[in-house]
Symmetry: C2
Subunit: 260 residues, 2 copies
């Protein structure tokens, strides 16, 4: 396919590379910032543009990978080309595009991307939604070309997925940061915890989290929990967080086993 | 070395296997429950016992891997053998053993173990504390025999490490559970989030968490955060958790970049 990438952020970068590797032709990369457009365009042998008036109409699909609040604006300007058009946002309704065209869909890669780190795209879940069967067929073909995990997820379900992803990714990363800060304050290196962080994530690749929960809260070990709270003295926010998370774990365990 | 394992839980099981693989002789495995003692003893070709009166005095070290609150009790009963004696607890002072003998130390593997999943012990950080230089030397030799990551950590620092490990492991696992529950309620499979969970942990193997934070909070994207809070309606605990964690992320970002 001939593919036009709108955007030059993390999602645009990783998707463009995956499409290119799968043998597609990246026609153009658009960014408001010509330097960003040029950088990504160079990597995928495309033409960089920084103005939508320079769009090459000889393309099969527009991949709109921009900030949520400008998806509608961009879609409105691309609609006249009457090409297949998708956005890549977990938080945005298909309607943001349907308002301007029927030939639209969503192509949402459920992964956290950073430019510095390569991702094996074949393991990235791709959540597909389409305005009709014909679009669905084309998007799935495109999706299976770069990933083994392709899911039909409509806007309603994607809305659910997005906060769940925050709990599974953004919040754990913040807790890693808390742990690192606690160590740093005592001149201890985060290397001490890195294997633990990785193993914790690896454990739930084949188990449900509730079945592999460890730590003082799930043992209802009040002595240890009180010791920890004392060590967090001077950090009322962290104490509150510690208490709330521990209560959640205790409650989760009661839900599973009945009140012991 | 001739090693006696006191306990048959996750830590005892993984340590015993690692010592055995490194060429040590496991003399006995003690557990109050003979079935548990027998199961682990069978795997490491040791004698199972369920009574401390059956201890074989022909050993070089007692590895006390039991619940924190019985470490002292066990140590008191083993002290008369005048052998090297260590506990494996992150939350227990060296003094719990020093009260009974000078020939003591701590051998704390900073990892989350489950019996069902093998762990590559060479990557497990081992935190060593010893009553004196001679003990330190022997414990480090033992430690480097099974792991590449051996650290000197005294009781004071270990106390800090323990709550940090809770933030790095137990709490993220609970958040995975929250994510899984949100999906399950909408008939979505946790498989959708498993690659995200893993990638999030892999990202901080070479970066500091604060440098790879993503999500609506770090962007201060209030519209998305409010949408998420609305979706969590009916779950006041999760709403509170969402708000507290998001505020933490926003504050973390301000601390790094100054108030924008």
């Amino acid at each position: 396919m001939r593919i036009t990438i709108i955007g030059s952020g993390n999602v645009a970068t990783h998707l463009a590379a995956a499409f290119k590797n799968a043998g597609h032709r990246i026609v153009q990369v658009y960014s408001r910032d010509m330097q960003n457009a040029a950088l990504l365009a160079y990597h995928v042998k495309a033409e960089p543009i920084d103005n939508l008036s320079q769009i090459d109409p000889e393309t099969d699909i527009f991949i709109i990978a921009v900030k949520d609040d400008v998806i509608g604006l961009i879609a409105e300007q691309l609609a006249p080309y009457q090409k297949l058009m998708v956005h890549t946002s977990g938080a945005t309704d298909l309607y943001a595009l349907l308002a301007f065209s029927d030939n639209v869909g969503v192509f949402y890669p459920l992964q956290t991307f950073s430019k510095a780190k390569e991702v094996n795209f074949r393991t990235v879940p791709l959540c597909i939604e389409a305005a009709d069967q014909e679009v669905a067929k084309r998007l799935k073909e495109l999706a299976y070309g770069i990933s083994n995990s392709v899911y039909d997820i409509d806007s309603q379900h994607r809305k659910t997925l997005h906060p769940a992803a925050v709990f599974a990714c953004n919040f754990p990363n913040y807790l890693y940061n808390v742990a690192q800060q606690i160590l740093a304050e005592h001149q201890l290196n985060f290397d001490l915890l890195r294997p633990l962080v990785l193993e914790t994530a690896e454990k739930v690749q084949n188990s449900l989290p509730a079945n592999v929960q460890t730590g003082p809260a799930v043992r209802n070990d009040e002595i240890t929990m009180n010791n920890h709270l004392r060590l967090l003295q001077g950090y009322p926010d962290l104490q509150q967080l510690y208490t709330l998370l521990s209560q959640g774990i205790i409650k989760m365990d009661i839900d599973r086993h009945g009140d012991k």
